[in-house]
């Protein structure tokens, strides 16, 4: 992969010289990429998924499983956090040189907390979608009722006017 400070634009523009006369003489745009791709030296993936904690090399403190009780786990992680903060205070008072392990434990708990909160996001997204769909259904039903009512009223007015005209 060549790198330059001010690279020239890619030379594909020459292929499109006769595009105005004959749109088919130039190549088609490339198809959308799937899977992983390299952009500016970094690897990106088109499949956006939250990487699990083990992938990042962090121990997972809350139990794995199909359905996690988020509230309970969040609360217990919070208690663990408070206990570790107290432990850190104790260690600083009595054995100040051994702070590193406690600090690492605390950061582990924070990473777990954030990961748990991030794993709630897909659930939230689906719940938002459900809410939007329900709202849309309700709006459509209301519009339907509105149209029906107006049609009925228009028909009634026509009948009335017909009656008035005939009575003349």
């Amino acid at each position: 992969m060549a790198t330059a400070t001010y690279p020239p634009p890619p030379p594909f523009y020459r292929l499109y010289k006769d595009y105005l006369q004959n749109p088919k003489s130039a190549p088609e745009p490339p198809p959308p990429i799937e899977g992983t791709y390299v952009c500016f030296g970094g690897n990106y993936t088109t499949d956006d998924v939250l990487p699990s904690l083990e992938d990042q090399g962090v121990r997972q403190l809350y139990p794995k499983g199909p359905n996690i009780d988020f509230k309970k786990e969040l609360r217990s992680l919070n208690r663990e956090l408070q206990l570790h903060i107290l432990e850190l205070a104790d260690v600083l008072v009595e054995r100040p040189s051994q702070y590193a392990r406690q600090v690492e434990e605390i950061s582990l708990i924070f990473k777990n907390l954030h990961h748990l909160l991030n794993s709630l996001r897909p659930h939230q997204a689906r719940a938002t979608l459900i809410h939007i769909l329900e709202l849309q259904i309700q709006l459509r039903k209301e519009a339907l009722e509105d149209i029906k009512r107006r049609r009925e009223e228009a028909r009634r007015l026509l009948k009335e006017s017909l009656g008035t005209l005939d009575g003349q």
Binding site: L92, F110, L113, L117, I130, L133, I147
Partner: protein, 137 residues
């Protein structure tokens, strides 16, 4: 802000309170006599120690308050009914219902537009007749 972002904010604020607490206490702590062999540390200026005794109390109170607020936010989370499959099933049935309602709406709309056109036609005919019948005097 939605509840998950608030929870994330709360976690970050607990973290910053923690390191502010330890940092401030470590920086401002008066020297302490470690061993009976060494003499007493020199006395500090008094304004330091007057405020300093309250610092740990205030800061730990703030930490505990933040932790309690986190618990309150966790309690405010909406109950997570079912799992992923239940949500996906509900989305599928809502989509079907939405499509049906949309089609019904479309049908009614077309019928209403047709009627409107008819009425407009008849009205223009009636107006023409009116104009034709009314002879100018």
């Amino acid at each position: 802000m939605d509840i998950i972002s608030q929870l994330q904010e709360q976690v970050n604020s607990i973290a910053s309170l923690t390191f502010n607490t330890f940092g401030t206490l470590q920086r401002d702590a008066p020297p302490v006599r470690l061993s009976p062999n060494y003499p007493e540390p020199p006395p500090n200026p008094t304004e330091d120690s007057a405020n300093f005794a309250d610092q740990p109390k205030l800061m730990s109170a703030a930490l505990v308050k933040a932790a309690k607020q986190f618990d309150a936010l966790v309690a405010a989370l909406p109950p997570s009914e079912g799992g992923e499959e239940a949500q996906l099933r509900r989305i599928a049935e809502l989509q079907a219902e939405n499509d049906a309602a949309g089609q019904e709406l479309q049908k009614q709309l077309e019928a209403a537009e047709k009627e409107l056109k008819q009425v407009q036609e008849l009205f223009s005919q009636a107006a023409d007749n009116c104009l034709n019948l009314k002879k100018p005097d």
